[in-house]
């Protein structure tokens, strides 16, 4: 549509109201970021950057999504930038995906069987009613915080934000086989941490 309907224009302008951004969305965006990057100071910076970036391109906001969704998507890209910088930092140091060290902790090097201290035991959480267990939630969160940055990024993008495997591999520059190794190790690690702290 080439001719602009003035009425639609007004509606679009109303949809973006920067004077209300902080009171409406700052806490929400802050929470969103803080949970995903495990760093409250950085989360605060990202919220600020998000609003400033949004201001610069507010003319481009087409009103196809809500203001909140739009701001969240800007923040999301910033979070992925953080993930990316953290994972390249890791790659330069210890390659988190290419060593057998962490794996042999969990499984016998020769036959691939569970090692004693990491062997899954029934924890009484096998059924989903454990989802309501606050103590368990707390332990899971603490265990997630202990994950290497790259693993946490992959886990969070996959299990919390439901991103496609392809997208995650592209954004974090992972091969698909690295991706699966990380997914596997993360879970084995998390589960073991839960068991250790639950009993």
């Amino acid at each position: 549509m080439l001719t602009k309907d003035p009425e639609i224009n007004t509606i679009d302008n109303d949809a973006v109201n920067p004077h209300k951004w902080v009171s409406r969305y700052a806490d929400y965006l802050y929470t969103y970021a803080a949970f995903r990057i495990n760093d409250e100071d950085l989360a605060r910076d990202l919220v600020q950057e998000t609003f400033l970036a949004a201001l610069e391109r507010k003319e481009k906001f087409e009103g196809r999504s809500t203001e909140k969704t739009w701001l969240t998507s800007i923040l999301k890209n910033k979070i992925i930038d953080v993930y990316r910088s953290r994972s390249t930092g890791l790659a330069k140091g210890v390659d988190a995906t290419n060593s057998d060290d962490t794996d042999t902790d969990f499984f016998d090097h020769n036959d691939g069987h569970w090692n004693d201290q990491h062997r899954p035991a029934e924890l009484g959480i096998e059924q989903s009613d454990a989802l309501e267990n606050k103590e368990f939630q707390k332990i899971l969160k603490a265990c997630m915080k202990k994950l290497p940055a790259l693993w946490f990024s992959v886990f969070s993008m996959k299990h919390i934000d439901d991103e496609t495997t392809e997208m995650i591999c592209n954004e974090l520059k992972l091969t698909s086989s690295n991706f699966w190794v990380i997914i596997h190790r993360t879970k084995v690690n998390l589960r073991s941490c839960l068991q250790k702290n639950w009993i």
């Binding site: 802050y30 929470t31 691939g112 454990a130 368990f136 699966w180």
Partner: protein, 95 residues
Amino acid sequence: MKELSEAELKKIAYNCRKATFLIEKQQIGKITLREKMELKIHLTGCSICVTFMQQSAVINQMARKLFASDHRELKLDEGFKEQLQKRINNQLDKN
């Protein structure tokens, strides 16, 4: 599909590392028919990995729940918010 030799079957039956890898892969992606069969064979004889599988699924659900946006909201410092809104307003006035 080629039949599995006894040695291969034995290897699968005892390899929890491989089985848990397939469990994870199956939860979020696709595994081949052959892999499905391997996993089934393993799980028939390994109750430990069955437990792993159940717990793994619970962990996924719980992580999602923990991070759901309507979950407990953190609050930014009021002073910071005030400064931020000022900064936005200044920027708006410039344009």
